[in-house]
């Protein structure tokens, strides 16, 4: 049992990004993560680095996301230089595609509202003929769409590996296969102890609970109200194809490897990360409606993954008032926000910087005594 400066519970994209941000600035960091088959949204997501339509109900979140996508290029290059792993960032703009005029109009209204409230989040609505200049293979069912110049994508799996590899390079300890069940705070010594199910324990000056679906319970133990809810997303992926889709869309994107990822559903099914034939069929039809040639591509895999969400869909970033040095983080869009998590949250939670401006808006206490409605943001 040695003392480390910062312990991060959870080695998904959120925990790993924060840990990396702290470790890169010289802090001594330890990551505690579960095993091979844990629920891990970071392994099952859609890989968009997306600004458009984020923060329709919270302009601070739109601005936070804008800053995040601006920092991504730097993180990508830094990880590439440090680890040789290419996290696959492509930021050349992206499309949202709609199948009906009503849908397209609603989209236009939403984007206009966000741009008005948050400022500096430009977009353009396009007719199918114009979209075709960018995505020549769209089908006749596409009624229109929006274009966001700041939107893009990355390879979330390689990002996760790059972060883990970067952590290693910075001397961090990554301890996998442990299930943390208790966090204790020794106020006098100002230290935290994390205990695992199998009886191990780790002591540190600071602790960050970034355990995805497991945040709520652990955060409660250090006095942070961090409610976590979840939806399941089912996703399909094809065999590798020659490049044909130059821009990612909300319904399908071609990865830099050539596979086409098709997503995703939003289902309220509790902790079931399985797949269902009806949703696989729905996703496949929707993809073929969007890009008819995809009918001839082979579907290699389908999966379900659980999104760690808060009740309003916006993140929780909070330091404990009763146990200073203890933090909790829950967030959707761990890919999009990876760079800001590394560059801003890492140093803050590691004790190197003050709380970032405006972060108080993301306190979990906003859910106390309220029945907030979840706002879907994609």
């Amino acid at each position: 049992m040695s003392s480390n400066q910062v312990t991060i519970v959870g080695g998904g994209l959120v925990g790993a990004a924060i840990a990396y941000g702290a470790a890169r600035r010289g802090l001594s960091v330890r990551v505690l993560d579960q095993g091979d088959t844990a629920f891990r949204a970071s392994r099952g997501n859609f890989g968009l680095v997306w600004l458009s339509s984020k923060g329709g109900g919270m302009p601070e979140y739109a601005r936070w996301t804008r800053e995040a996508v601006g920092l991504w290029g730097g993180l990508h290059q830094e990880l590439l230089d440090l680890t040789g792993v290419d996290s696959g960032l492509v930021q050349q703009g992206g499309f949202w595609l709609g199948f009906s005029d009503e849908e397209v109009q609603k989209r236009a209204d939403l984007l206009a509202k966000i741009d008005r409230e948050a400022g500096g989040i430009p977009f353009r609505m396009m007719e199918p003929a114009e979209i075709q200049q960018y995505l020549p293979d769209i089908g006749p069912k596409v009624a229109g769409g929006s274009w966001g110049a700041h939107d893009g994508m990355a390879n979330p799996l390689f990002l996760l590996r790059a972060l883990h590899s970067g952590l290693k390079k910075c001397g961090a300890d990554i301890i996998t296969g442990v299930d943390i069940t208790a966090i204790e705070h020794d106020a006098a010594a100002g230290r935290f102890t994390a205990r695992s199910r199998d009886g191990q324990s780790w002591i540190s000056d600071r602790i960050v609970i970034a355990a995805g679906l497991g945040v709520s319970d652990l955060a409660g133990q250090i006095g942070i109200h961090a409610p976590v809810v979840t939806t399941r997303g089912q996703v399909l992926i094809t065999e590798r194809l020659k490049p044909f889709m130059d821009y990612p869309t909300n319904k399908a994107r071609q990865t830099t490897e050539g596979t086409v990822q098709i997503g995703s559903t939003t289902e309220d099914v509790g902790l079931d990360d399985g797949t269902t034939v009806d949703k696989i069929e729905w996703l496949a039809r929707r993809a073929v409606d969007t890009f008819p040639h995809l009918a001839h591509a082979r579907l290699v895999r389908a999966w379900g993954a659980l999104r760690p969400l808060t009740p309003d869909g916006y993140p929780i970033y909070q330091e404990s008032e009763t146990c200073p040095g203890g933090f909790a983080v829950v967030c959707h869009s761990g890919v999009t926000l990876a760079a800001i998590h590394a560059n801003i949250l890492g140093p803050w939670m590691g004790g190197l910087t003050d709380a970032p401006a405006g972060v108080a808006r993301f306190r979990g206490s906003r859910f106390l005594g309220k029945n907030t409605r979840y706002a879907s943001d994609h």
Binding site: L157, S165, A284, L294, A295, H296, R301
Partner: protein, 453 residues
């Protein structure tokens, strides 16, 4: 739309599937048999209904014995659907398959997985080169197309199928440049410890050993106890190099046929999230079932090689026993004595297994290769890559897969899965059971996105 229903769906028309279907029909069940191939017979009895006479002679008596089963199956009146690729199965008996380009659904009170086996991956340097194939694959060429090697050919590895093919090639007049046998002498000694069980199967045993001695008699150079196999060549196989009696040897050949046993095709049972155990004798995963092959409390049973390698005859018997159990589960009556007869047959035909498993246990170095050997052929991930993911903290195949894409190609992990488990287990010094396997999900065969229109 109402889903089509039946009493029993059998997936696979090899010996296990055909026997189960025939038995179930005799008990009065309605049976639908789905197989992705266009003909019945499975692996051993491939093309059994239409083998040219000369080829039948070459393939031998065990092959020809399949005709009786094929006839029984045809006469049974089971609804057989060729070209039907099953891509999804649920524990309550719903099956989705693609035929003629469209996905269809059929459900049943009982489902039998009889999807057989595949050749164990043989990851050695150069195994991805053109000119390197499975010995089973070459046998498929022989059965399906009457195709024989035309130039120098080497058979390398171990296991009954390797010797069987050598024997069949001799009968077909094919010249073998060599039989590189990786069975170490020590394996014979160890296997003798299992002979007790094998006595009851001695007829099989004598037959098996007979094949090997006939190959030797035919003046084929046999290199026993060979190790460190390596394929030579840059763009095509040009030969094989190996260690034999302390010396490095090379044989030039444009065709190298590798084999080190067959392993169960467990994709469907894994996709149900059924429990699987590591079979330390056969070095593979097998689904955990009750004694008649049922998976937990589901409507799904497993029989034949997809439940654990037992060979063709025992596969058929297992299929029949499963049919009896499924019939009874649906409230049917089984003729007195039938089960006992089948159980005796099964005992006789599996008694040789522990002996064979021990004798033909593939060498560690041919399952857990050196760093530069490709493990995942689709995504070209090497054993060294996998070990570097273990260094990053990966404990099992799923995190390793997401870190390096191994298992993400169209073969869906079939050609790398066992190797990935064993490489990680060795690197972690953990048991394969602790390391686990890929999370297999539908579609368990790649299907076209347009299959739903």
């Amino acid at each position: 739309m109402n889903t089509e229903t039946t009493d029993l769906i059998v997936i696979g028309s090899g010996p296990a599937g055909m026997a189960a279907a025939a038995e179930a029909r005799a008990l009065g069940m309605s049976v639908c048999v789905l197989d992705e191939q266009r003909v019945i017979g499975g692996q051993i009895y491939r093309r059994i209904e239409d083998t040219p006479e000369a080829l039948r002679m070459i393939l031998g008596k065990d092959y020809a014995a399949g005709s009786a089963l094929a006839d029984e199956f045809r006469r049974s009146g089971a609804d057989y659907r060729p070209g039907a690729t099953v891509w999804n199965l649920s524990g309550d008996g719903v099956v989705d398959y693609v035929a003629d380009g469209g996905s269809r659904t059929i459900s049943a009170t009982n489902v039998l997985i009889a999807t057989g086996a595949m050749e164990r991956p043989f990851p050695i340097p150069g195994w991805t080169l053109p000119g390197v194939m499975g010995a089973g694959a070459a046998q498929i060429m022989l059965k399906g197309a009457d195709a024989r090697p035309s130039g120098p050919v080497v058979l390398a590895g171990c296991g009954p199928l390797l010797y069987l093919l050598a024997w069949q090639y001799l009968r077909a007049g094919v010249q073998l440049a060599g039989l590189v046998d990786t069975t170490p002498f020590s394996a014979y000694v160890a296997a003798l410890g299992k002979i007790q069980g094998a006595v009851r199967g001695r007829k099989d045993l004598i037959k098996g050993l007979g094949l090997v001695s006939q190959v030797r008699l035919a003046r084929v150079p046999v290199y026993s106890g060979a190790k460190s196999l390596e394929i030579l060549g840059r763009d095509m196989a040009e030969g094989i190099r190996f260690q034999h009696k302390g010396k490095s040897r090379e044989i030039a050949a444009g065709l190298v046929l590798l084999h080190q046993g067959v392993v169960p095709n467990t994709q469907l049972s894994w996709s149900l999230r059924a429990r699987h155990g590591w079979d330390a004798g056969q070095l593979c995963w097998t689904p955990v079932t009750d004694e008649v092959g049922r998976l937990g409390q589901t409507a799904v049973y497993v029989a034949g090689d997809s439940r654990g390698i037992v060979g063709a005859i025992a596969s058929g018997v297992q299929g029949r026993l499963a049919a009896l159990a499924m019939h009874e589960r649906s409230g049917g009556k089984v003729p007195p004595g039938r089960r006992a007869v089948l159980e005796r047959q099964l005992a006789r035909h599996v008694s040789l297994r522990p002996f064979l498993d021990r004798l033909y246990r593939p060498l560690d170095e041919h399952r857990i290769p050196a760093d530069d050997v490709i493990v995942c052929r689709c995504e070209e991930v090497t054993a060294g890559d996998l070990r570097s993911y273990v260094d990053l903290g990966c404990l099992g195949p799923n995190q390793a897969k997401s870190f390096g894409r191994c298992g993400m190609g169209p073969c869906q992990g079939r050609l790398c899965g066992l190797t990935v488990t064993e490489v990680i287990a060795a690197a972690r010094k953990a048991a394969p059971e602790e390391v686990g396997y890929y999370r297999i999900r539908p579609p368990i065969k790649p299907i076209h996105l347009g299959s739903f229109s």
